[in-house]
Symmetry: C2
Subunit: 191 residues, 2 copies
Amino acid sequence: MKQETDDIRQNRVPERDLDEMDRKLLGALCEDATVSYAELGEKVGLSAPAAHERVKRLRRSQAIRSTSVLIDPVAVNKPLLAFVHVDTRGWGKTPELMAISAYPEVEEIHSVAGDACMLLKVRARDTRALEGLLAKLYDTPGVMATRSYVVLSTYLERPVQPGSTTVWPMPSYMAQPIEHRRNVNAIAKAD
Amino acid sequence: MKQETDDIRQNRVPERDLDEMDRKLLGALCEDATVSYAELGEKVGLSAPAAHERVKRLRRSQAIRSTSVLIDPVAVNKPLLAFVHVDTRGWGKTPELMAISAYPEVEEIHSVAGDACMLLKVRARDTRALEGLLAKLYDTPGVMATRSYVVLSTYLERPVQPGSTTVWPMPSYMAQPIEHRRNVNAIAKAD
DNA sequence: CTTGTTGCGGAATGTCATTCCGCCATCATG
DNA sequence: CATGATGGCGGAATGACATTCCGCAACAAG
């Protein structure tokens, strides 16, 4: 009986963890999601219906969250990118703070460990728009201070990559931690 | 004669700046790029061929950089997200540093103004993989120090939004800067 | 060995992307 | 004001492709 586990993963699709073929599909779709299933299958070594079936499964299991267009920030008049660290009194994630997600300038909101409570990724038209957002932040109860890191140049910006680095080049002077000798936390299969 | 301006914008498509209809198209495609052109046109109030034509133009002009799938980080076994501030001696953007973009864990590399030189967005399997990347960083010539902000929870994460906030709610005690009284830097048309 | 399950490939069909063409609005020009 | 050019839109036609169906093979369970 596997009935006992079914109520644990509530609204989670069965989701057998993905194999190498799924990764290749994700990688290809990450680069260009407009390809036909015929081309996609050809890239990964699969027939069109097979590729389609797997992609459909990846969508159902929410491994593929959505398909979206990547917009040039300059084209939509948002050349200014900044990361804003927010110090808050007490727990940062208040409804008042979350309200700023209504502004399309705000692209990311994270709570972080470190000397900042919340971290925002903001993309705006100019410094004045950024100032407007900061003013809005300082008007939010609990916000103590902000530190903004204005981006001068972006050298790399890409969506989540399906691949992982399996072996990191460790410098010679750094010993391998004991608990990882046999790589106990490695990906379960197919690596 | 408008010949004289043609050699200025070199490999830039004519690119008349986008109107309200383009923004609506971008917004719809941002949410879901799998919709048919018929649905897309219906959403924005356009026929299928007209919508197709405009989207084609948006792609040509690179306002739409690419179409991609958004992958669930957990599904590809990368639950750990961190922002890494890198202090460098001298100018940060060296070929050696840029080499880390080969790691699929690195999603963004920016140079920033503030007390950090470079800012990295890193998504890894576990703390050990993050350590591996940090070790790689410290092995890079010119890297002085790093500060990592490990994300505890992500409350918002979305691609570049086509919209912009036109009027920011200024707190009453903050005066309007003189040079912006007539909103000189506003979007050229259609706002 | 038998049986059920799962994933794949080939063929068929319906949907949709893509093109063509005529219409209309806008704008520049006479 | 009149007129021609331009650009963008909508309707219809066609071709490509997504999607489904079905048979087959590999594999696991009984």
